[in-house]
């Protein structure tokens, strides 16, 4: 069960629209290493996690990813306000505009729509936790790449916050993996599934 909180986890107040930037940032909404995939991945993996600590971090981080999805959506929405036809055509935003006007749609910067192929829920804690650690680093790299191209401090600040959260999540998942391995037989340190074997 969830309850909505009517606030963003970190404020987004962008003064200057920039559809070109929106088209890149939307990758963190519906792209291969975006927040949709993250939330679905963690909230799905929870069900087969054998240990309480891991159920706890997957639930909380999965929920936080939904809050990040909302922040990325807010950034894209605010970057595509009040556009005129010239801005839409000059910024390369026209293809997106034709398909979605200025609606926020889960799609990658490359144009590929969101797919569950971006994530895995393998039912094996060692496998899933390694996927989660990799996913946090891939998301962090994507935020780094976006920050390389964006100068507007109104856009940079929330992106820097989101990048920082990937690092915190990596730390927590690392602790989760340590907790899991401490409970496994030393002979099966890397290949044993306590929820199935």
């Amino acid at each position: 069960m969830w309850q909505y909180e009517k606030r963003l986890q970190y404020p987004v107040n962008i003064k200057n629209p920039n559809p070109k930037m929106a088209q890149l940032i939307i990758s963190q909404y519906g792209g291969p290493d975006g927040e949709s995939a993250a939330a679905l991945r963690y909230l799905s993996q929870r069900f087969s996690m054998p240990y309480a600590e891991l159920k706890g971090i997957l639930t909380d981080i999965g929920t936080e990813e939904l809050a990040h999805l909302e922040m990325v959506g807010a950034i894209v929405h605010q970057l595509t306000r009040n556009l005129n036809e010239k801005q839409i055509q000059d910024c390369g935003f026209a293809p997106y505009f034709v398909d979605h006007t200025v609606g926020v749609y889960p799609v990658a910067a490359s144009g590929n729509p969101f797919t569950a192929e971006y994530l895995q829920s393998k039912g094996d804690l060692i496998t899933d936790l390694h996927e989660d650690l990799a996913a946090e680093q891939k998301a962090r790299t994507t935020y780094d790449n976006l920050l390389r191209m964006i100068d507007d401090p109104d856009v940079r600040e929330p992106l820097k916050f989101l990048r920082q959260r990937e690092i915190v999540h990596f730390q927590r998942f690392g602790e989760g993996l340590r907790i899991a391995q401490d409970r496994l037989n030393s002979k099966n340190f890397y290949a044993f599934n306590p929820s199935f074997d």
């Binding site: 309850q3 009517k6 107040n13 962008i14 706890g56 306000r81 915190v168 602790e175």
Partner: protein
């Protein structure tokens, strides 16, 4: 009187600190220092919300906070709306 935006920002910061401590506690459930810090931050957050409500009316975070009229909940701004004052609240 404390500026509304400033107090909202402080409330938000305490919510964040409490959440981040909760995340830490998931993998360190016996850490007494983190639990203690959570209690301290919870008290400070309650005081801040009291202070906010003295000046600006009910602090609405979830639907459970609504007291009188449902328009307290549905009224603008929603979280993705641009803050008022910059004249940019209109969508395309």
């Amino acid at each position: 009187m404390v500026c509304k935006t400033a107090i909202e920002k402080r409330i938000s910061a305490y919510h964040f600190a409490l959440y981040d401590l909760a995340l830490f506690l998931n993998t360190h459930p016996c850490d007494q220092q983190a639990m203690q810090l959570r209690h301290v931050y919870k008290e400070r957050l309650c005081k801040l919300i009291d202070e906010y409500e003295q000046h600006y009316g009910k602090y609405i975070r979830t639907q459970d906070d609504v007291e009188h009229s449902w328009s307290e909940w549905i009224c603008d701004p929603w979280p993705w709306d641009v803050a008022k004052g910059d004249g940019c609240c209109v969508a395309i």
